[in-house]
Amino acid sequence: MGEEDGERKFRFVGTRPIRHDGVDKVTGRAQFGADYSLPGMLWGRVLRSPHAHARIVRIDTRAAMAIPGVKAAATSADLPEIEPGPGPANLAHLSRNVLAREKVLYHGHAVAAIAATSEAVAERALLAIEVEYEPLPVVLDLDDAMAPGAAILHEDLKTRGGKDAGPTNVAAITEYDRGDVDAGLAEADVTVRRSYRTQTVHQGYIEPHAALAQTGVDGQSVLWCCTQGAFTVRAYCAALLGLDVSQLKVIPTEIGGGFGGKTTVYQEPLAILLARKAGRPVKMVMNREEVFRATGPGAATHTEIELGARQDGTITAARVRMCFEAGGFPGSPAGAAAMTVLAPYEIPNYAIESLDVVCNKPRTAAYRGPGAPQAAFAIESALDELAEKLSIDPIDLRLRCAAKQGTRTPYGPTFKRIGLIETLEAARDSSHYKAPLGPDQGRGIAVGFWFNAGLNSSAEVHLNEDGTAIVATGNPDLSGSRASLAIMAAEELGIEVHRVRPVVADTDSVGFTDLSGGSRVTFATGQAVIDACRQVVRELRQRAAKIWDCDPDQVDFVDGRCVPAKGSGLSEEPLALAEVARQAGRTGGPINGQAQLTARGAGPSFATHLCDVEVDPETGRIEVLRYTAVQDAGRAIHPGYVEGQMQGGAAQGMGWALNEELVFDTQGVLQNPGFLDYRMPVASDLPMIETVVVEVPNPNHPYGVRGVGETPIVPPLAAVANAVRRAAGVCITRLPISPPRLLAALHDESGGDS
C-alpha cells in the first residue's frame, strides 16, 4: 500500500457509527430540493414538446404573458447561442436540451418556461404559449436510426472515430482490438454467438428534480438544487447563461437519489433565467411524469457477441459489437461499455466495437456504472452459455481467464492489485453456491467491473476550540458519504467519530470539487480529507513543541495526543488534541487544514453475484429466491453503507433484469411515465440480499479504499438472466425478462431472441 502499513490497526475505520445526518433524515428535518422556499417566490413550469421530432417554426409567449400573475417567460432566444463543439459535455447540445432551439428531438423536450405567482397560473400560461411545429419522421430506435435513408436528427453530426463524412445518426464509434479474432475463433472447439438487447430504463430516484433561484439586482444569483455536483451545476449554468462563475453560488440541498441522473442540468438554468427576468425568486419542481419524459434514461442497447474456447476452457477469441441509444443528443456510454466489456478477462484475441447512436428519445444521462451493466449482461450471458457447452462450472471458467495484477486492459492500462479472483473464490466458497436447488429453480452467476473515478476534490478541516472538528467538502451525500469522510477524519485526528462534524459545503465555501459520481467520494474526497487532517496534525505537533519549548520533530502524534517522540529525551505529559486546540490562540492562531488534489489510481472494483430464481412455467413469473453480492471494497470504511451500496445496486439491477422498461409508442410517446407502470422493485419482490465484502487494498489510497457505488449494478442483469436460463432451459437474450417475454421464450426457443 501507499504510505501505510497494510496491517495498520484502525480505531474507527471499519466501524459502524450512526451517520451524522441520520437524525435529520428520520425525523423529516433534512431539507431536500423541493423543501426550500423564499418570500415572494414564483413558481416556474416548463412547456414540453408534443412531438418526438419536429422543427420549431415559431414560439409566441405574448398571450401567456398577458395572463394575470404571469411574471416571466423564457425560450431558447433568451439563452446565448453556443456553437456546437466536441466533448461529452457538449454545451451546445446541453443548451438545446435545456430549451429546444431549432428542433425538438423527443416527446417532452423543453420548449419554453413560465414563472407565475402559483403553479396553477403557470400551468394555465403554458397552454397559452403558441408554438408552431413542422413534424419530422420519428427515429424510434437503433434500427430506425441506422437504416439507410433514416431521418437525421442533427444535420451537422459526423461520426467521431468513423470514416463516413455524414450526416449520420451515429455520433461515435469506439474500437479496441488485439490479436487475430478470426484465427482465435478458428482455434476454438466451442463457440457461442448471440445477439442481446436491453431496453431504455430510468434511474428512478424517488426525489424529482427541484431548483430554487434568487437573483439580486447586482446580478449575483443563488441556486438551491438537488444535484450530485454543485460545482458542475455552477459551471453548466454559468456557461449556458453567459455568466461569470463567480456570479453564481450553488447550494446543494439534500439529494433524494441520483444514480447518475442528477449529474447534469435541466431546469436549474431556467430557474435562474426566470428569476433574473422576473426580479423575484423562482422555484421549479418537476412532477414524476416530467422526470420520466424528459430526464435521464439509461440507454437501450443491442449487442452481438461471438466467443470461442478450447475444450479445456481457455477462451481463444471474442468479437463484440455494441450499439447504444443516446436519445436526442450524442453522449451515451457506448465508449465506457467498450472499455468495460472484456476488462475482467484475459483474452488473447478480441475486437470490440461500440456505437453511440442518436434517436428520438430523451437524452440519456449517466446511470450507475454507465454502459457496464448492459455490456456485462451480454458478455456474462455468453460466458455462461459457453461454460454449459464445455461442461465447466461457470465460476471455474471465469477463474481460468480472470484478470489479475499485471493483466493489460483492452483500453490500455495494466491492472495493479485487483480483487476479481478473490470475489470469484468467495462466491464459490459461499454457502449459497453449495445450496441445493429445487424443480424450476436455477442459479446464475455473473461478474461485474467498474473503473471508479478519481478526479478533483478539496477539503477543509477546522479544529474547533474544544477539540471537535468540522470537515467541509463539496460532495453532496447520496448514501452515507458524510459518515465515511468523518470516520477517516476521526482516524487521522484520533478523536471520536461524533466529535467530527462533516459538512456538505456550497460552492462559495469550499474549493472546487467534482461531482459525487464515479464512486469517487470516499476514495478521492476522502484522500483530500486525510491530507487536510494530516496538516492539522503537523500543526498540532508544532503547537505542542511551542508549549514544550522543543523541536516539532521531538513530538509525535498518537491516538489523538501529542506525546514526546521516542528518543527525544522529553518527559512531558501527553497533550490531548483538545488541550492544544484550547491553547491555539496563544500558540499561533486557529488550527485548520486545507487540501486539494486530483486523485489518481482509483482502484477498479470487481464483484461476483449469485442469484437463485424459481420460474413458474405456466405464468412466466420469476421469483428471486436468494441473492448474494460479493465485492472487493479495497477497505470498507463504514461496512454498513458498503453493504447498502451492494444491496441497493443488486436490487436496481434485478429491476432492470425483470421488470423495468420505458415503453414508447410508434410516435415516440412514452406510455408508462409513472411508478405504477414503470415497475421498480418493491419490498415484497425481493429476498434479503446477502453480502460478502472482500478487502483487497487499493495500493493508491492511504487506507486501501476502492469506490464501491457503481460496481454492484453491473452483474445482476446477467446473474438473473443466467439463473432464469438454467431454471427454464431457454436462452435469455432480451431484457426485461417480463412474464409474457419468458412465456414466449418457453413456447418457442427463438422467442427470447425476438
Partner: protein, 171 residues
Amino acid sequence: MTRMHITTCLNGEEIDFLCEPHQSLLHVLRDELKLTGTKEGCGTGDCGACSVILDGRLVNSCLTLAAEVQGRSVETVEGVAGPVSQAGTVGLHPIQQKLLEHAALQCGVCTPGIVMAVKALLDREPDPSEREVRYWLAGNLCRCTGYDKIVRAVLDAAAELRNLPEERQPA
C-alpha cells in the same frame, strides 16, 4: 375560489388552516403549514414518500384532499420523535433509532414515509413476520437500499417495542 376553513388535530395539536377544495393534504402540509418532512415522490399514490397516518390509518397524503381531515387526527413524521431530553439524548422513536442503527437509509428521501408506514404497521401488529413487513412496505418505494436493511430494522424495532415496559412505550 372560496378557501375552506379546516380544523384538525395535527401531531396531537389542534390547528386550523385555509385551503382550496382541490388541494391535497400533502400540499397543505408542505406549502401552507411548512411541514416539509412529508415528501412528494410521484403525486399519484405509487411511491409512499408522502405517507401520513389519518385517524390511525396509513394514507398517501397526495391522494387525500386537505378538506377531508376536518375534525380528524393527522400524524406526520414531524410528530414521531419526542424532544431532546435534558440529558441531551434525542427522543427518537425506536423505529427511527433502528433505521439509523441498521444503516437502513441512504439518500433518506423515502425515509419519512417508511417511518410512518412502519409506525402504522407496528401500531396494529406488534410482531410481524418478514413477509408481512415486506408486503406492508410494498407501497413505499426505496431505490437505494434494496430493502434488506429496512426490513431488518423494522423487525428489530418491533422486538424492541414488544420488550419495552408499558410506561416507556412511545405515545
